[in-house]
Amino acid sequence: MSKIEFQRVTKRFQGGGEALKDVSVVFPEGTMTFLTGHSGAGKSTFLRLLLRTESPTRGQIFVNDVNIVKLPVRKIPAYRQNLGAVFQDHHLLSERSVYENVALPLKVAGMREQDVARRVRAALSRVGLLEKERLGTRALSTGERQRVGIARAVVNRPKVLLADEPTGNLDPDLSRDIMTLFEQFNQVGTTVIVASHDRELIDAMGFRIVELASGGVICDDDSTNLDKWKDGSV
């Protein structure tokens, strides 16, 4: 249950252009939002800033009124333990089993082995991979890997769930199931932000949609940011 707020955030990569341009957007706590836009629009950058794997060039990012841009390095681990993240490129351990990959956040949090097993199995059954828990992740299809990443993101019941193209490699039925899973998490109070360019799917879900184009918010059903953008004040 966390409120997230971007205040005039700009991210410029060295040798690159501005991936985000003066973005201001608020995600009230317990809401579910889709982040959309064309490839290169800045969706992944947006989520990386929230994860604190990148820092903004300008602007502030507040999570529960704490400015995470100014978060000291030693406090980052505790912050990340309360986030669940699904990555566009999975970030799974190729040498480890499905089970071990999903168990990782729990081990890091210091959970007892029995509880770990229970939670991991619950998460794996949510994504339909319970029978593959002993397999190495190399032996999985891309879609299956994606689902392992999702199980790992939700296994620690995070307060904030960030997902970057979580259904990028899944068929429509499975995509829907995964989105429904996120919705269930949202229903118990988790703030969810999902980046996806699957317009058809996210339109059908009926949640708020924030659309980015070349680093700026061009459409938000909250419309406050949209107005500013049209003014040219952004």
Binding site: K75, I76, P77, Q81, L93, V108, G110
Partner: protein
């Protein structure tokens, strides 16, 4: 709200969790080491070699110190009588020495007593039994005034050397001083080499740990993403370092034990020629425990050097 009290739940890890981490990390580290046994063995040999020289010098230094301490408090010389000298002649001479103004005490050692002194040394006793008669001479240890200079001591000693029944006079303190100078030198050398080779051992472990770290770079990045602390991430590498260091200490211990076994007999013979029996120091558990501890500490330092340096460089994503 101040940044100091985070609004998200602090991950309070129970002590038991940290303990569990350590256990599983040790298990992993042992598995990792044994899976790459060839490399590990090489590292152990390198560290072991680096450690055995300073540790060996330390042992030598300690043995010399023990030997010299046996004479340390004594301002004395030994008189060895000719084999077969009559008891009467010997007694007469002893009386003469006793009456000298600088002499404090004279203790005589009969050939039988000398033989008894050897009785705990099996090798020498075995050799002795081959001889029909006792080959040891009678001797007398003469303690002089504590204040006497080495020069005066030598003068007093030599003045008895002229007499017929005397075979040899040995002024222990003369070579004792030489020995102490050598001891001091070896001690210094040991320290210098200890620092140099200790740094070497640290660098060897650091390089090996660094290698292990590179192999697990992917894992480190993922761990960082799911919120692992640096302590959690470095732990396996510190244990790897400790295992390398401990293995190295083990190699050094084996090298030194072998050296002690090889040296014990000839050294025993050498000391016995001075009428002294010395047990070589260094075969006691405390020394090996200390060696292991030093190995572990050097290894952990190596692990810290490698992982701190590398972790700072890793920017995730």
């Amino acid at each position: 709200m101040a940044a100091s009290n985070e609004p998200w739940p602090r991950s309070k890890r129970p002590i038991a969790a940290t303990f569990r981490d350590h256990v599983s990390v040790i298990r992993d580290s042992v598995r990792f080491t044994s899976r790459r046994f060839g490399t590990s063995l090489l590292v152990w040999l390198l560290i072991g070699t680096a450690m055995s020289l300073p540790a060996g010098l330390y042992l030598i230094e300690r043995n010399i110190e023990v030997i010299s301490r046996q004479w340390d408090s004594l301002n004395s010389f030994s008189v060895y009588f000719k084999v077969g000298a009559s008891e009467g002649d010997i007694n007469e001479l002893v009386q003469q020495i006793r009456s000298h103004s600088d002499v404090v005490t004279v203790t005589t050692v009969t050939p039988e007593e000398a033989l008894n002194e050897f009785s705990s040394y099996k090798v020498i006793m075995d050799a002795m039994t081959l001889l029909e008669s006792n080959p040891l001479p009678a001797s007398a240890r003469v303690a002089v005034d504590d204040q006497l200079s080495l020069k005066r001591l030598s003068d007093v000693a030599l003045q008895f050397g002229e007499l017929g029944v005397v075979d040899e006079i040995v002024v222990e303190r003369a070579w004792l001083q030489r020995l102490q100078a050598i001891d001091e030198f070896i001690s210094r050398l040991g320290w210098v080499l200890g620092v140099l080779f200790g740094a070497g051992a640290v660098l060897i472990t650091a390089a090996s740990v660094r290698l292990a770290l590179e192999l697990r770079l992917e894992e480190i990045k993922v761990l960082k993403l799911v919120g692992a602390t640096n302590a959690f991430i470095t732990r396996p590498f510190l244990y790897s370092g400790a295992i390398y260091g401990l293995g190295g200490a083990l190699v050094a211990a084996m090298v030194l034990s072998a050296a002690l076994i090889l040296l014990e007999a000839p050294l025993g013979a050498l000391w016995s020629s001075y009428g002294q029996m010395v047990n070589l120091q260094g075969d006691e558990p405390a020394f090996y425990f200390g060696l292991g501890l030093v190995g572990v500490i050097l290894g952990v330092i190596g692990g810290l050097v490698a992982s701190n340096q590398r972790l700072r460089e890793i920017n995730i994503d």
